[in-house]
Each structure stands twice: as structure tokens, then as C-alpha cells.
Amino acid sequence: MRRHTISLIVENKFGVLARIAGLFSGRGFNIDSISVGESVEPGTARMTIVTQGDEIIIEQIMKQLNRLINIIRVVDLTDDSFINRELALIKVNASAGTRPEIVQIAEIFRAKIVDISQKTLTIEATGNEDKIDAVIGMLRPFGLKEIARTGRVALSREYRGKDQPRQPAPAAPVWERERLNIAADPA
């Protein structure tokens, strides 16, 4: 079982999200997180799905997603280099006494204070899940009031440093080969 980050370009049509969610629940696949937003091309959206499973399950997930008519492209980013971020809004108890310490924690994580009241501070943090987990962990002792997390968004990385030239395109994964009908090795 490994976590996989799957990126989809979908037609932004009525019911697409329900189709995808239904596919996962109907076939017993896990969803850790799912996020959706408009993509570059009008009428399309990018979805990022974080899921878990062994090779065979992930292969089935990719293939079943590909069967959905409204899905234009499916990519498993996991084995390639990719950037991923999550955003969290964290509302934490704060008194005059604890406020400075909370502000300091936020600064260390390069998080922002986005709202303040007599009794609370609301912090906006972005980063990968580990970082968000750490921010939340550090704030927990003050008393968490509410949390909203977006789930992961991700894109594959274009630029690689000189010492890390882009690998020759990795051999297409099995499912992709089958879908595109590419032979395992050129014959």
C-alpha cells in the first residue's frame, strides 16, 4: 500500500465530481483527499486525488478513471518529481498571554495570521501535508477551535537543477501502455 497522487483534467460538466466519487465508492477504492478547481483551458478543471493501494489497485483506479467519458487526461504523479501543496486555515484559542507565542510559531512556519479576535487567532498555512500536520501539532496545546484543509493540489515539476537533469521519460506504466496500446518494448 502506497499513497498515490493522481492528477486529472476533466470536462467541467454537470456531475463529474459525482461520477468520480461514485467510481471510488462503488469499486471500493480509497480517497484520502480530492481537490478541484478550474484549469487553464476554459471548460476544464484539474482534480488532484490522493489515494492508496497496491500496484494492481492503482492500475485499476487509473483505468477506471480513464473509462469515464468526461475525463480528458489522467496522470499518476507519484513516481515522477512533482510539487504538492495544501492550504489550511486554523482557528486557535489565543489570550493576551499566549498570543505572542502563537505568532512566533506561525512565523517559523511562514504561516500568516489572517484573522484575530479577543479570544482567537486564525492562521493560514500552506505547504505539504507534513508541514501542515506540524503546524497543527504545535498549535494543538493552545486549543484548536476549527480547522479547514484543502487537501493536496499538485503539478509535475518542470525545472530540474543541472545536477538533476530530467530523466529520460520513464517507461510508461503498464496501464498507460495498455491504454495507448504501446508495446512493452518497441518490437
Binding site: 459525482a18 461520477r19 461514485g22 467519458i69
Partner: protein, 578 residues
Amino acid sequence: MELTGAEIVAECLLREKVDLVFGLPGGVVIPLYDVLRRTPKIRHILVRHEQGAAHMADGYARATGKPGVCIVSSGPGATNTVTGIATAYMDSIPMVIFTGQVPVHLIGNDAFQEADIVGITRPITKHNYLVKEAGEIADAIAEAFYIATTGRPGPVLIDLPKDVQVMKAKFEYPERPHVRGYRPTYEGHPGQIKKAVEMIVASKRPVIYVGGGAILSGAADEVRDLAYRARAPVTTTLMGLGAFPETDSLSLKMLGMHGTWYANTAVMQCDLLIAIGARFDDRVTGKLSDFSLQSKKIHIVIDPADIGKNVQVDLPIVGDVKRVLQQLNPLITKPLGTDEWLQQIEVWKREHPLTYESTASCHEEGLDGGSDGTAPPSHIPLRAQYVIQKIGEMTHGDAIVVTDVGQHQMWAAQWYGFTKPRSMITSGGLGTMGFGLPAAIGVAFAVKDRPIVVISGDGSIQMNIQEMATAVGCRLPIKIALLNNGYLGMVRQWQDLFYGKRFSEVDLRESNPDFVKLAEAFGAVGLRVFKDEDVEEAFAEAMKVTDRPVLIDFVIGEEDNVFPMIPAGAAAHEMRES
């Protein structure tokens, strides 16, 4: 040209060359029915229950390869089609279903007869649409027919709110629908095909395993060509029956749970398994960890998601099986050394034929119905197998057999003797009791020159018996061979074999209707047969009736079981022959 939404629907159907639809109206589809009334080129068949309409469209599609179309109302009309849609989906049958919907402004209000049919059918359609403007209808319909009939076929549903049917819009039919996220693969990859040829040529013990995909793609000739070139025996799944003639010496008949001993044994012992348009369903493979362990596997199939789903294969080829075989077959030119294997199979066929005991003499497949001179053991009642074998003989294997689900279905698969594609019409994937009669009605509108024989059970027939009225109304000469064992026989069989004969809620004997009178009440002909020696005469009489359905109530033994049988979850070597 400005047309109303309903007129646009009719125009689109004409463009798609639809001349027959099955349906039943209701409040929200009256605008559409109003237009149908003045569209004589589209014949509408009024059913008695919307499930019937869906199965009819399905049966029509299975017999012809053309998409079946049905039209129903919103709410209960739409939900009544659900079983029919799921049945078609599981067997990859092209269908387009039109459901009425409440007016757009009422959607989501729990309006009268509102049901979220698009939501309900999402997992059982290939795709579906809720059309919210008349201007979107033509595109949706063009896409629906395109999606339903291409790639791996399947049902597509279009939900049409009442106000959209009345709204006016400009009508323009898209020449070729463009669906970005949908690009089926038809051509096989040449490199993969070359490798397949190498594997076939190297094989000493090949088996070709053919599924419903070969029928859908019209690949029977190519399958036969491959079998002859490779000199490989062929077994088919329930859905693949007819894709290879069972009269051919290379035929192993059906494999799987109720397949022949020799087909399952050959699959177990082969060194190469060539799966064509099949999906390694659990009714075929039995216990996966013991399935065909000695073989390398080639899997030719149009849907990549079927590859590696149940069984890991050595060589996948994604494509339309007809095209792939057309690419592959000519490359097999060397004579292949499978003689020993074929001899072995001949021995198996002789030693383990399909058998049954009967008061008549057709104990074994291959023997004809003549008397063998021995006195019939009088305690043995009429046997289903005999009835089916006799029907096979009397129709020269030329009938279109439509079945329900249960023991009678398996006996039909084992004993009819299929030689042509699109001749066995049965709900394989979903196993829907009640499919047979309405599906046969759909077939009867498409096929006029071959007998249409429903093989049904006393449980199944009652699940859509109301469609007898449709068949009588349309004067369809369907023959219904009712194998009446007084039980939900297949469930009784499982309780008999695996639950210590603890029969629970399977006995229909006390409450079954008099099926002959029932047929007559509908205006059909009813006949009853108790004895082997009366089968022939009754069926001959039924064949003479050309203007209405005939139901023959074959009163068969109550406690007969279907064999061979591989118990669910067991391996082929655990097969029981009796």
C-alpha cells in the same frame, strides 16, 4: 430551422436510423409522445412495465447489433428501467434510454414523480445526460448513440425535462460527435501481435477462450480462422456461445461453473490460453489462485480496464477483437504441432461427455434422439436437458434462444447446440430473472426468418409475465418453453448441495399458476407436456402457430440438478460431475 425539443428528439432518432422504440408514456413525456404519434417512420411498441421496455431494447440490440431504444416517463417509469439498464451494462449492450423528467425549475424540489435517475443510473450506464435546454438535445443524442455503440458498447441514458421538450431551439445535427475524453482503441499494436504469433506458434497445448466481446464485434469468422490456423480447441463463455460452432470438432463447448468437464480440464492443462473478448469473470475462473496455472496468457479485449483486473496476463492486446484477429491470423502460417493435444482432448470428450439419464434415449451429447431399445426407467420424469436437446434438433440449431436465469438457463447453454453468433440471448453478467420474455419480444421485432424460443423457468417467467400482453398484441410467434420444476431451482440446487438440503423459500409448487390457462388468458396458446414422448409433437404444434405466442408448460422433475458444477470459489479440479 426552429423545432420543439420533442421534435428535435424525433428528428435525431430518424438521423440515427431508429425505426423502433419500446416504451410507456407518463405525464412528463406526453410532448414527446405527441410528436411520435405523427412520426410514422418510428414505430413505438407499448409495453406493460418499463422493465420490459428496457429488456426489449436490449434483446433487439443483442439480436441485431444495433442500439435498442426505449422511452419512459419520470420517477417510477424511470426507476422501473433500472434492472434492465444494469442488465445491459453488465453485458455491454448498446442501448439509448430516454427518460422524462420534471420541468427544470422543479428539479430538486421533490416534485411529483421526480427521481434523480441520472444519479441512480450513473454506475450502471456507460454515460448519461440531463439535458436542460432544447438546444443541447441534438448534441446529447448524437453523443449518446456514438458512445453507446462504439468501443465497449453499453447503455446511455438521456433525461429530458418536460419543459425542454416543449421549448424551441434551432435544430442542427452534429455530423460526427466529438467527445474529448473518449477515444476507444480499435487497432491492435503490431508489436504485441507479433509476440502473440510467436507464443501461438510455440504452443503445444493452446486453448482459445472466447467471450461475448467476439459476438459484439462480429468476430465469429475470425475466431474460426484462428482456431483452424492454430489448430487450437475453442471454448466459449455463456456470453460467447455461438461465436464458434459447437458442432465443430475443435469445440470444447462452454467453460466455467457449469461448463463441460473437458473445457475446464483443457483450460487447466493448457500451455497457452488465448482470451478473446472475455473478462475472466469469476463464474469462468473459479478460484483465481488455481486458475489455469500452467498457461501463458494472451488477452485480446477492447477495454483496457479488463486487463489484469482478475488474472495477470503475459500479453495484453487492446483493440476490437475482430480487427486484432484480422491483423493476427494471417501471420500464423506454419503448421502447428498440436496433434497430441487434440487427441488428448478427443479422449476427454469421450470419457467425460455431458450426460443425463432420461426416459428417452439421448443420454449423451452427440447421439440423436432415436430409441436404443432399452425399456425406459419409468420413475424418471421428463428431463429439461431432453426438452432442450429436442428443440435444438427440431430447429436445426437455427433458433434464437432467449433464456431467463436459473437451471434452465444453464441447461439451455449446455444442450441446445449453438452454431451461430447472436443466437443465445441471455443475461450473463447480472443474471436477471425476468429477462427472457421481454428480450425475446425485442428479438422478434428484428428477426423474422428464424424461430425464437424462450427457455424459461417457472420462477423467472412470472417476473415479467405481463409482457405476454405485448407479445399477443403484436402477434409475435414466440415459443416459450417453460421448464417447470415447481422451484426456484437453481437456488434449491445450492441449498441441496451446499446447505445440507435445508430448502428455504424456494418452493413454488403450491402457488404457481396454471401456466396453460395463464397463457390462454393473455390470448396466447398454452400447451402442457409431461412425458418425453410428447415433447416432439407439442413443439411441432407450437411451430405451426404463426400469429401469437405459444407457451409450453414442460412439467419436469422437481429435484434435478445442473452438472457438471464447479462450486463457487472452488477450482476446476474440484468439479462435480453428478
